[in-house]
Amino acid sequence: MSSRAARWLAPAAVGVAVLLLWEGLVQAFHVPFYLVPSPVLVLTTLVHDAALLFSALLVTLRITALALLLAVALGVSIAFVFVQSRAVEVSLFPYAVLVQVTPIVAIAPLIIIWVKDPLAALVVCATIVAIFPIISNTTLGLRSVDPGLADLFRLYGARRWQVLIRLRIPSALPYFFAGLRVSGGLALIGAVVAEFVAGTGGTASGLAYQILQAGLQLNIPRLFAALLLIMLAGVAIFLLVSLAAHFALRHWHESELALER
């Protein structure tokens, strides 16, 4: 078996084994479905409630995507401002940390009160959760310029914008993508948490809302099905970001070359 196949087959085998064990235990001990539904029941519920659950998934994904885009746009802009001068970074960075360490569940109610549009409020919450890795990694990347190349650019009288576009941004890309990988997951978590906090005050249609409702109605199979969709969405986001990183860095950066060898 090639190592490439092993990378897919090994985790898949573990997954199948766990599912079989789960199904077997539920059947053997006659566990009621309102406590732990069997995998087969979760899947049939997913198919049965597909219309409801997939439209809820789309709502959550929309919030996640908007939040991630906003986090990237804002985070990268803030990083550009930070690298303009040490004084600016030193003055503002503590506040970026402050945003990062404040629990979103604690400030979400405020944001939901302040921002009228429920969708916008949820996007703001998810953005706050997702933005920090983008800021800190991009700032680090923009600063991590090979000193020899910096000398070279100086020698040829490069202007500030030439240094930014031709040197700082390419140098920062690997760091940016490392941040994006973390932020992609965080944006989804932020979206779900914000929906939870908002409850019926939110858009009342996302996956988190479905989980809340299913919990209240003791519809545990639907709760599991919604949970499954959230996990799959998280994995999909991770794979998409990794793919983007691969296409951006495949020619030169060590992190992507290791995959080819």
């Binding site: 090979d146 020899g148 190349l149 000398d151 070279l152 650019f153 100086r154 020698l155 040829y156 009288g157 490069a158 030439q162 031709r166 040197l167 390419p170 890309l173 020619h251 030169w252 950066h253 070359l257």
Partner: protein
Amino acid sequence: MSVSGTHPGLSASLRAAATGSGPTAGLAVDVRCARKIYPNGLRALEPIDLQVRRGDFATLLGPSGCGKSTLLRMIGGLSSPTTGSVALWPEPAAEATDPRESGDPGGDRRVPSAADRKLGLAFVFQAPTLMPWASVERNVRLPLDLAGHEERAPDKVAAALDMVALREFAGVYPRELSGGMQMRVSIARALVTEPRLLLMDEPFGALDEITRNRLDREIRDLWARRSLTVVFVTHSIYEAVFLSTRVLVMSSRPGRIVGELEIGEPHPRTDAFRVSERFARSCKQLSDLLASASADAVGARTEAV
């Protein structure tokens, strides 16, 4: 061996004498009383005077930490002298006004301006210093792109790559090349602007001896063909003798120039020169200079104690 007025191997002093008159005529680099003291008080360079004539292959030879790289970076404008001045292609007219008499409090300092750089200055660093995200071609093009010289850029890049025999590698990324090939890309990038002055900071120090010897021959040929002025930094006596028309010996802590040696051997220099008696004699003279300099330094330190 025929000697003619245009032969690049002709003794550099003769060529320099033919190009003009006056104290700075014929100079490519004029360093006056330049010293470097770092903010932490470290004296990297004692006041140094260094004149490099046009067409010279001048080598700064010395042990690690003697300030030879610092001096080279000053010439390149990457570092400014704490006191003293550095001028490239000084004009005799400019010499008439002594900056020390101008009344300008900072007038004693002078770093090469952007105009000097446009006159054709190139720097080859210790490491290849290539952009890993760009192909060989785009790396070599960089100086033209930064200067906005788009016209005929592809031709110039091709010509520069031809000079280092890497034309067929134009589309390749640096990581796919060996250390020696990366260094040749770095040299092509330096040559693409057709510089008049080439500064090289131990460019082949990290390479194996076989590759280093080959690149030494190539750079020597380029110097001769392009009538370049080269300031080369190395800690290898053999490399210094093989390449240079003139070797300046530096000693450390603080860095200063303790002696110099003209190497009269004409161009082209082949590997036969490396095993000749003249080569051995020059090496011996240089190592004696280095030894006496370090003995002086030890003596001075002992006295100070």
